[in-house]
Each structure stands twice: as C-alpha cells, then as structure tokens.
Amino acid sequence: MKKIFSVTLVLALFASCKSNNGDNTLPIYGSRRPVTKTVNGQTTTDTVYATIPPFKFVDQYNDTISDKNLAGKIYVADFFFTSCPSICPVMQRNMLNVYNAFKTDPDIKILSFTIDPKYDSVKVLKKYADKLGVSGNTWWFLQGKKDTTYKLAEKNFLVAVSRDTTAPGGYVHQGYFVLVDKEKRVRGAYDGTQPDQVNQLIADIKTLKAERAPAVGQ
C-alpha cells in the first residue's frame, strides 16, 4: 500500500512537472539552493541542484568503478542482492529491457548496487551477470561496504522516493530504478517491478539524451 501510494505520488509529480513546462523536460529532484554571482558588474542568481556525491565500488570484473567513470553519462541505479527471493528477480528481468535498449550506447550505464556484500562477492556478481546474459561495460554490478551503500541510497539516489512518501524508511528494498543525468542529478524514480514504468524509464532516458539546455527544476 505504502509502495503504491509513493509510486502514485511520484507519477503525479512527473505529470504535473511535464504539464507545467509545456515540453518534455524531466524534473530535477533533491535539494537546491540559489547562488548569486557578480560577473562584469552584473549580478545573476543561479540554482545549484543536489548531485550524487563521489563514490567508489568494485564491479563484477573486480575493477574499481567510481563517479569518475560516469562523468558525462546518463545512468540508471538500483539496489538488489543476488539471493533475493522476492522482488529482485522481477526487477532484474525488467532491467534487462533497459540494458537491451541501450547496450550499444556508450553514454548510458546501469549500476546495480548489492545490499548484501557479505555474500555477493565479485565472483558471485560475475556469475549473476553471466546468468542474465550481461557482458561488456554497460551494466555494472557493484559491491562495497553495506552501510556506505545504504547511506548513498537513502541520502542521494532515493531522494525522489523519500520526498514523496509520508511513511518513513524502507525504500532501498522496494525495487526503485533511479535515473541520473549527465550532471549527476536525480531525474526520476520508477517502480522496477512494473513493466509499464520501466518502459517509461526507457522513454525518459531518450528524453534526457535529447535534452540540450539546462533543465528547469521543479
């Protein structure tokens, strides 16, 4: 019920944002602050948006993946674990559709962070990727310290979800796919267990790719 409520709110926000803009610009989530600058005697005020902070994890090939590998890329992030018996198999099946849509596009990446690093070793993650038919460097299955992963999830990636729900906690294991733009800003959250929302995510990635001017926040 909580999940349906939060997803509905997220979708409602998307709808209102799009209609307010009158075009296909996606909203920008997270905190923002105005910054006033004076250049050549002219005072201007810009809005600075929250971005995903620097991070460093290890992928299924035992390579270090950090925010630097994602500079100038659009990416989708989710949180899972390989032995998850409930929602993760559905999520990853749906994420395969995103992977298949963009696997030849070097500007799009997928990051799946394990929340069970105790058992999800690099070897286990590689086996999991192989079983899904994932190869190359489009989809990284990432492993790091569990509390670091949770902190990153709650404070940064899942801002769109946590802002739009009235119930506290319990967001990480709810199957959200989070869309991040080239400037490291969160631009959408989708229920990864619902194929129609995953299709919307694929459409929104194309919208983000086509975005030229800096987007206007909501």
Binding site: S83, P85, S86, I115, Y150, K151
Partner: protein, 134 residues
C-alpha cells in the same frame, strides 16, 4: 459413460495439482513477506549503525556501550544475510510435502530473525535516543 468418468478423473487430478501449487505459493509468500518486512528493518538498522559508528569513534563515556550495540547490530544483520544466502527459493527436486515442510521450517526461522532484528533496531534506537544522537 467411460468418457465422462475419464474426464471427471482428469479434472479432479488437475484441481488437486492446482490446489497444491496454490498451497506452495501461499507458503512461499508467507516466508518472503516476513523477509521483505525484515529488509525494511535492516535499512533502519544500517542508519542506527552509522550513528553508533560515529559515537564509538568519539572519546565519550558511551563509547564502550556504543561498541557493544554495534556488535548486536552486526550480528542481527549477519544472521539475516546468512538466512538469505541459504534459503532455496527454487526447491528443485522436492515433492509437494517436502516443499511445504521446508517452507514451514523457513517461516519459523525467518520469524525468529524478525524478532532478533526488532530487538537490535529498537534497542539501538533507544540507546541513541538516551545519548541524544539523531
């Protein structure tokens, strides 16, 4: 007559099969529902752990108690992780009765983990509150 009898037997067999599958699915869902609830609690546990880590790193009288709570938190988290790793959702090669028996035992195990998790979450939260850590 023979044809009607044969059809009735087939339908009965099909019904029994569907019923068994439904029973297995219900038993499976009852295990994973508790698991999903614990995953939400685990998230709160990780939040508490970050605060406890910060308190244990400071030179305060509560430092040792914070370390003791970290151990309890890690133990609860680790027990959950181990259960998830050992749980066999496919149950390949098991008969209906074996599956029902397995899922019944797993439900008991996961409920015990839920209790352990609740104790760790509420106990560590109380400790943090008493030490004015938010």
């Amino acid at each position: 007559m023979k044809k009607v009898f044969f059809t009735a037997i087939c339908l009965l067999f099909l019904y029994a099969c569907t019923d068994k599958k439904a029973q297995e699915q219900a038993a499976f869902d009852s295990v994973t529902n508790v698991h999903d609830k614990i995953m939400g609690e685990d998230e709160q546990l990780m939040k508490n752990k970050l605060l406890l880590d910060s308190l244990a790193g400071k030179n305060t009288p509560a430092k040792d108690s914070a370390s003791a709570w970290i151990n309890k938190v890690v133990l609860a988290d680790s027990a959950m992780s181990t259960w998830m790793h050992n749980f066999d959702p496919d149950m390949k090669g098991k008969s209906h009765d074996q599956k029902m028996d397995y899922l019944g035992k797993q439900k008991q195990l996961v409920k015990r983990l839920d209790t352990q998790m609740n104790v760790a979450v509420s106990g560590s939260a109380d400790f943090l509150r008493k030490n004015h850590i938010k």
